[in-house]
């Protein structure tokens, strides 16, 4: 098979999902609103002391981002499963793993990317030193995309499970911990004026591994879960 049809498959799946999601405004705004609310509650709950806030800022921003992304995994395949699109994708001639990759990209463009764009604003609110902002945005960019890919595996495994949200979080959470650790520590290092290249490289490595393995794993999982109901 030549390259263009493969890229075409990813693009097609991505555009279809983008179109669907942009029309369902509430659905993709949800994680963003959640992210903003959680972060803004910290200065109110802990008090606006700049030292305290600056100390916990990297952790708070990263934990909130992780939870916001976790919240949105549910929706990745649920609607497609309900209306039978998933069956057709499993039976389709397009490689399923590339379709999954397209869907994850669409999902990330509407959940991860806006979150990254919002992060500098919330970082200022949390008194994070300005020189750490590029590292925060960069680590979130690498991290949220990796999280979206990892989440796709969990979402594929729990498709068709009633109230699978809790199960999904339990399944995915252990896999997301390394992303959280390296993301938060990269941001913390940058805030303290140290180099964060090491942590960023590790995040990039996780993303590369997820990019290679997650679509295949999620596609295999979808073939099993599509067979399980009927």
């Amino acid at each position: 098979m030549s390259a263009p049809p493969l890229i075409g498959t990813v693009r097609r799946a991505c555009l279809r999902d983008l179109r669907l999601r942009v029309r369902a405004l509430g659905q993709w705004l949800n994680p963003l609103v959640f992210f903003v609310i959680v972060v803004t509650l910290f200065p109110l709950g802990i008090g606006p002391g700049p030292n305290t806030l600056a100390l916990i800022a990297p952790g708070v921003l990263w934990i909130s981002a992780l939870l916001a992304v976790l919240l949105s995994f549910d929706a990745l395949f649920a609607a497609d499963h309900r209306d039978g699109t998933l069956e057709q994708l499993v039976l389709g001639t397009a490689p399923l793993s590339l379709v999954v990759l397209g869907k994850v990209l669409a999902h990330w463009l509407l959940s991860g990317l806006p979150l990254i764009l919002l992060s500098p604003l919330l970082a200022v609110l949390m008194q994070l030193p300005l020189e750490a902002l590029p590292t925060l945005a960069g680590s979130l960019a690498l991290g949220t995309l990796a999280l979206a890919l990892i989440g796709a595996i969990g979402a594929a495994l729990t498709v068709g499970v009633n109230h699978g949200g809790v199960l999904l979080s339990l399944l995915v959470l252990p896999l997301t911990v390394p992303v959280l650790i390296f993301g938060a520590s990269a941001t913390a290092a940058a805030a303290d004026g140290y180099a964060s290249g090491g942590q960023m490289s590790l995040l990039a490595a996780i993303l590369a591994a997820a990019l290679a393995l997650a679509p295949l794993t999620a596609a295999a999982a979808l073939r099993v879960t599509a067979a399980a109901d009927g």
């Binding site: 049809p5 097609r12 497609d80 209306d83 039978g84 057709q88 067979a227």
Partner: protein, 216 residues
């Protein structure tokens, strides 16, 4: 005497347990090119499960499905390339309009917008081309899914209750498509509760729910 062609689709010893229930018990079936097979039987007799098992969406506890003599598990890609499965759930997203839905479902096969629009008009959806499918009636949504019978030149059709929610004209349209498909050397397996005369093709009925699963 003409040498009989090998069956397009064949199932041998198909067995499916649903919990404690033996839903399909060592069922054999075969469909040759040019044949139409109707699956009949009361609700819960396993018609949909049989269709899902044939395409590989439902797990078989025993038995094997063959596409042109080769196990479908081994030739999945070429089998899927010749297969049109229309499930109980039509695979139509409420948020997309009919043409967007078809493009997403058919991939590059749907690049000919003129042909697609013509097929939709033929099914009476000419005024609904830009309406999100959730605003369409159940019958109209079914018609959007059925447009695939026009657009996808697949050899084998497996249709689960294709006539649900259709009016008389829609029923006629589907019947004509099925006859055409069989006459063009394809094969069709479908389930329905409606009586359904097909002229000009070999049509058989397989009644499920019988202990022996006898083909009549």
């Amino acid at each position: 005497m003409i040498e009989p062609s090998p069956p397009l689709l064949e199932g041998r010893g198909l067995t499916v347990w649903r919990g404690e229930n033996l839903l399909l018990d060592g069922l054999d079936l075969s469909v040759r090119a040019g044949e139409v097979l109707q699956l009949a039987g009361p609700n819960g007799s396993g018609k949909s499960t049989l269709l899902r098992a044939l395409v590989g969406l439902a797990e078989l506890d025993e038995g094997e499905v063959y596409w042109q003599g080769r196990a479908t598990r081994r030739v999945r890609e070429s089998f899927h390339g010749e297969l049109l499965y229309l499930g109980h759930k039509p695979g139509i997203s409420g948020g997309l309009d009919p043409r967007e839905n078809l493009r997403a479902l058919l991939g590059p096969e749907a690049d000919d917008t003129v042909r697609m629009t013509a097929a939709l008009k033929e099914l009476g959806l000419g005024t609904r081309l830009d309406v999100p499918c959730r605003s369409l009636s159940a019958g109209q949504q079914r018609r959007v899914a059925l447009t695939r019978l026009r657009l996808q030149p697949r050899r084998l059709w497996l249709l689960d209750e294709p006539l649900t929610a259709l009016d008389a004209a829609g029923l006629d349209w589907v019947r004509t498509r099925i006859v055409e498909r069989a006459q063009a050397g394809g094969a069709v397996v479908y389930t329905t509760h409606q009586s359904f005369a097909l002229d000009g093709v070999t049509a058989r009925v397989l009644t499920l729910g019988d202990p022996a699963g006898v083909v009549t």
